[in-house]
Amino acid sequence: MTTANPVTDAQTVEAELLAFLTERIKAPVRPDEDLFKAGLVSSMFAMQLVVHLEDTYDIEIVGPELTLDHFRSVEAMTALVLRLREGTGADE
């Protein structure tokens, strides 16, 4: 099931991700907050994040894209989504 989000401007992606994280973590998250340093992301949740981004934005996050820095904050994930939506992934 792909629920590709047709709206993929930075503001929309960031808002959606903040809502997703806030619901899961049950605490407010800042866009620039380091999720790993704050201890908010476990290994299980990191995988949930990858699957959520892939399914919501119809992208594939594989190979060299799977570095921690791309998932470190909502801002970083937003940039990753926008880049992969434009088809300019490092693997292309």
Binding site: R24, S43, M47, V51, G63, P64, L66, L68
Partner: protein, 367 residues
């Protein structure tokens, strides 16, 4: 579904009633593994664009359960091949995916090295290192209980890479690689478990999936998630085999003038086995459905399915031995094998204790 039925029939014909002999001998026929590998059955979820069957998690699950009912050793090798393919799909770059997935669906066999002497449940404690050296990488370390390593052409080794981690594809015949079979393992005795020693193994840099430096936690979770699903479905197979064997025996054997199944205490065992078969199948289907629909909940569902599958399989196997008594206690008998194989399922790919910790964490975070 007809494709699934074809594959199941093919497995029936290839395996037949030889699993008991393989278990006693401690070895699977290499030509059987290569044949199944070349058909893509050992890693059926690999997409067709890479030469695979492109099976859904559900279709692959039914294949895995069927294999598990026939022979848990063969299912173990299937699980290893599937984990390797999953890691390549997720962490490999485009060239690596094309190259290695073609090999894995073309008859080459793979095994995956996770555990180490000092790193079992705590995989973060692993010390195997992947060190860049000019245009090469050098892999040094020791992996234990590597399922399928005796048969493998390729070893997927997880190791430390700088401050992060990497998965490296190591051809088993590379100088510096030693594969030492585990003598007489308790369960899945023909699965080719081995200790793998990597003594300054030098490889081209492109053997490192995706260039490496990936989060250790994500590497493990991705690989283990596939492994947990595969083992959960394999456990469904063990339970089905136990149910069939116990039901057949309870119908045929008479004691005190009536079939065993008419004795209420034995009938109770049959009911328990039926409940186990239904519970494990449903929890596996649920987890596969989440995977097939891209749900973020798939990882925790895999842990749940593996935990439910392993605990029910271990209990079901003990129950089946109880029903068959001495008729099932012979070495290599399906329920005797199930008894040993199922116990192993409770300690691999996350022990029961680790599974419960993960599930408890999920409850604390979400309930």
């Amino acid at each position: 579904m007809s494709e699934v039925l074809d594959e199941l029939t093919f497995l029936d014909e290839l395996v037949g009633d030889r699993a008991g002999d393989w278990d006693v001998a401690g070895e699977l026929p290499a030509e059987l593994l290569r044949k199944l590998g070349a058909m893509g059955i050992l890693c059926a979820e690999v997409p067709s664009k890479f030469g695979g069957l492109g099976a859904s998690s559900l279709r692959n699950g039914e294949l895995t359960a069927h294999t598990g009912a026939l022979c848990s050793s063969l299912r173990s090798v299937m699980t290893s091949q599937g984990i390797a393919a999953t890691a390549v799909r997720r962490f490999g770059d485009r060239g690596q995916r094309q190259r290695y997935l073609a090999e894995l669906t073309g008859g080459r066999l793979a095994a995956v090295g996770f555990s180490e002497p000092g790193a079992g449940s705590d995989l973060a404690a692993m010390t195997t290192r992947v060190r860049p050296d000019g245009g090469s990488v050098v892999v040094t370390g020791e992996k234990r209980w590597v399922t399928g390593a005796r048969y493998a052409d390729l070893l997927l080794i997880l190791g430390r890479h700088g401050d992060d981690a990497a998965a490296v594809v190591v051809p088993a015949d590379t100088p510096g690689v030693r594969v030492e079979p585990v003598p007489a393992p308790m369960g899945c005795r023909a699965a080719g478990h081995a200790r793998v020693v990597l003594d300054d193994v030098r490889l081209p840099a492109d053997a490192v999936l995706g260039g490496g430096r990936q989060p250790l936690s994500l590497l493990f979770t991705t690989a283990l998630s596939y492994g947990r699903m595969s083992i959960a479905w394999g456990c469904a197979g063990i339970v089905r085999a136990c149910l069939r064997a116990a039901a057949a025996h309870a119908r045929e054997r008479e004691q005190s003038g009536k079939p065993l199944g008419e004795h209420q205490l034995v009938a109770g065992h049959l009911a328990d086995l039926y409940v186990a078969e239904e519970v494990v199948t449903q929890v596996c289907r649920h987890a596969s459905a989440l995977q097939d629909t891209g749900s973020p909940e798939q990882a925790v569902a895999a842990v749940l399915a593996k935990h439910v599958g392993a605990t029910h399989a271990a209990r079901a196997a003990a129950t089946a031995v109880q029903v068959l008594a001495s008729w099932g206690a012979g070495d290599g008998h399906v329920v005797a094998r199930a008894y040993r194989d199922a116990k192993l399922m409770e300690v691999i790919e996350g022990s029961n204790e680790i599974s419960r910790l993960v599930l408890a964490r999920h409850v604390l975070d979400n309930a």
